[in-house]
């Protein structure tokens, strides 16, 4: 039915599209191994200096002629990574509980404010990061709350609850309500039905929502940027700061590691999903 030339053109365009998406990432990876620190775009030779530099394995000298331009501080970077992981762990837990509970309430109960809740739960996700970020900043400062890891977790939970809500809601929509009726029919109370039938059925959706929440929390820049204060910085904010102070070859190394980590996480997510389908 399709004309072959049209299809070939479409295929060509689509493949270029994927090149557009992935080429920039390969540029970073490629140049993270380039030894030329002055113009990173001119290939000199293969090196692991920028990686070893990241981990403080190489003696670094504060000498402008030295190859290893000093990266802020390995300790700072490790601390930022730790903060990111801690924040993401807490955020994921809280947002998953809040989002799942609300999704169940909206899908399985009829009540007067249902329509309102549906819109309200979407709003944090749709609100531009910067508005939410400065709103939280003013709120915390007005309340006299010290900006810290706690405020970051709170900030992340607001919009990630939305994400989990949407993922879990989509999953519930695919579950036959007759399952819960069957459970009630067989003598299980509302609470037992929730625990023994609905939650196990929802598990893949909840897991998916949690994974998404974790990944977005790890990656959030804007909101964290406003409410992280001086003490605790997350990895994206740390890298943002480095980039603003100028391009350094070590950033390529960090960026490559982050790309690697995200590919691993995405593959794990995919694997989880494919395992759930049987």
């Amino acid at each position: 039915m399709r004309n072959p030339w049209g299809w070939a053109a479409l295929t060509g365009f689509s493949l270029l599209f994927f090149v557009f998406i992935y080429a920039p990432l390969f540029v970073i990876v490629g140049y993270s191994f380039n030894s030329n620190p002055v113009n990173m775009m001119i290939w000199e030779r293969f090196t692991l200096d920028w990686y070893t530099g990241l981990f403080g394995l190489t003696e670094r000298v504060m000498d402008p002629n030295s190859r290893a331009a000093y990266i802020e501080s390995t300790d700072q970077m490790i601390a930022a990574l730790k903060t990111s992981l801690t924040v993401a762990a807490f955020t994921t837990t809280i947002a998953t509980v809040l989002g799942t509970a609300t999704a169940i309430a909206l899908a399985r109960y009829r009540f007067r404010l249902r329509g309102f809740y549906n819109g309200f739960l979407m709003l944090p996700m749709m609100m531009p990061d910067i508005v939410l970020g400065i709103g939280l900043l003013i709120f915390f400062v007005t309340l006299g709350m010290q900006l810290s890891m706690l405020t970051i977790v709170i900030g992340h939970c607001t919009f990630l609850t939305s994400y989990v809500f949407i993922i879990v809601q989509a999953r519930i929509a695919g579950i036959d309500p007759a399952l819960e009726e069957a459970s009630a029919d067989l003598g299980a109370s509302e609470w037992v039905t929730l625990r023994k039938v609905l939650l196990p059925q929802l598990a893949p959706g909840i897991l998916g929502g949690a994974l998404l929440a974790f990944v977005i929390s790890m990656d959030d820049l804007v909101i964290t940027y406003f409410i992280s204060g001086t003490g605790d910085t997350t990895l994206p904010v740390f890298i943002f700061g480095m980039i603003r102070r100028g391009v350094k070859p070590e950033i390529n190394a960090i960026a490559t590691l982050i790309i690697l980590a995200s590919v691993v996480i995405a593959a794990a997510g995919l694997w989880l999903r494919s395992r759930k389908t049987d």
């Binding site: 295929t11 920039p24 509970a101 309430a105 009829r110 980039i243 790309i259």
Partner: protein, 295 residues
């Protein structure tokens, strides 16, 4: 639908999120609204008195003593809106053919390319933008490559221009446009396309009369999802845009982190928020109408 009594469990399920979002989402938004009408203090901070010149500075009324109307703010607002609109347009034009292509692939390769599209969701925004910084720099990948090939003599100046900003936004927003589009295209009943051609419509007519109307909800969905984060974006212009690429998000950031004029920053945020809420409202009412029409 099952009957459910409004039980204690319903309360238990709703209370945590209600409480949490009420305090940490609604209150902060209300506080922005409040701050946007307060008087900026001389050395940062606020005075708790009513003050409407924050908006005056943006929209054209100013007392001329304390605050002056600066048309630059309206220009930057206009630029933000047009950059966001342009981002929507470009992502749409890029994604629509690809969504079509992917939906027509055999199962295995379809899943593979869908995976490739979703992968950027998992990878870092800041890293992806940084890549473009490397590529667009005067001594960057693009210029090195083009000059190496002898295509240009002088490095192109793309970085720190509006082009770079829109390019960057397109790059980070592409998956958000792609997924709703793909869902719409994939939902399309292929037999309807064949029926249209069978009834004598050519490819263009079939596209305009059958395919486009039925994928419109996906297009609208993608447009909203891309437009909203674009209009208030400050990271992309911060990294890739110069003075000419400045957007309203950058203004807000400046007011909070360097100028320390929180009330004015709040007023600017209120402007972003109203744009976003307007877009959402229009989208939702439209979706309701067409949804009712289709049902």
């Amino acid at each position: 639908m099952a009957i459910r009594r409004q039980s204690a469990i319903l309360g238990l399920l709703l209370a945590p999120a209600t409480l949490f979002l009420g305090v940490f989402f609604l209150l902060p938004l209300l506080i922005i609204a409040l701050f946007s009408f307060l008087t900026p203090g001389l050395y940062g901070g606020v005075e708790w008195s009513f003050y409407h010149w924050n908006y005056g500075r943006i929209f054209g009324w100013a007392d001329g003593i304390m605050e002056v109307f600066e048309p630059v703010y309206l220009r930057i607002l206009w630029r933000s809106l047009s950059f966001a609109a342009l981002t929507v347009l470009v992502t749409l034009l890029l994604c629509y053919p690809v969504a079509f292509w992917v939906s027509r692939l055999p199962e295995r390769s379809r899943l593979f390319f869908l995976f490739l599209i979703t992968l950027p969701f998992f990878s870092s925004l800041i890293v992806r933008l940084y890549a473009w910084l490397l590529i667009l720099k005067p001594t960057g990948f693009l210029n090195s490559a083009l000059m190496g090939l002898g295509l240009i003599a002088q490095p192109l100046e793309i970085l720190y221009t509006p082009t770079a900003v829109v390019l960057g936004m397109v790059y980070v927003m592409v998956p958000f446009m792609f997924l709703p589009l793909y869902a719409a295209v994939d939902n399309l009943d292929r037999a309807q396309v064949e029926a249209s051609m069978d009834l004598g419509a050519n490819r263009v007519q079939t596209f305009l009369k059958v395919v486009l109307p039925q994928t419109l909800p996906g297009i609208m969905g993608g447009a909203v999802i891309v437009f909203i984060p674009s209009v208030g974006n400050f990271i992309v212009p911060d990294i890739l845009g110069g003075a000419k690429g400045l957007m309203i998000g950058n203004l807000v950031e400046q007011q909070f982190l360097s100028a320390r004029n929180w009330p004015f920053g709040s007023a600017l945020s209120m402007v972003i928020m109203s744009v976003v809420l307007t877009v959402l409202l229009v989208a939702v009412t439209r979706a309701r109408k067409t949804g009712a029409g289709h049902a």
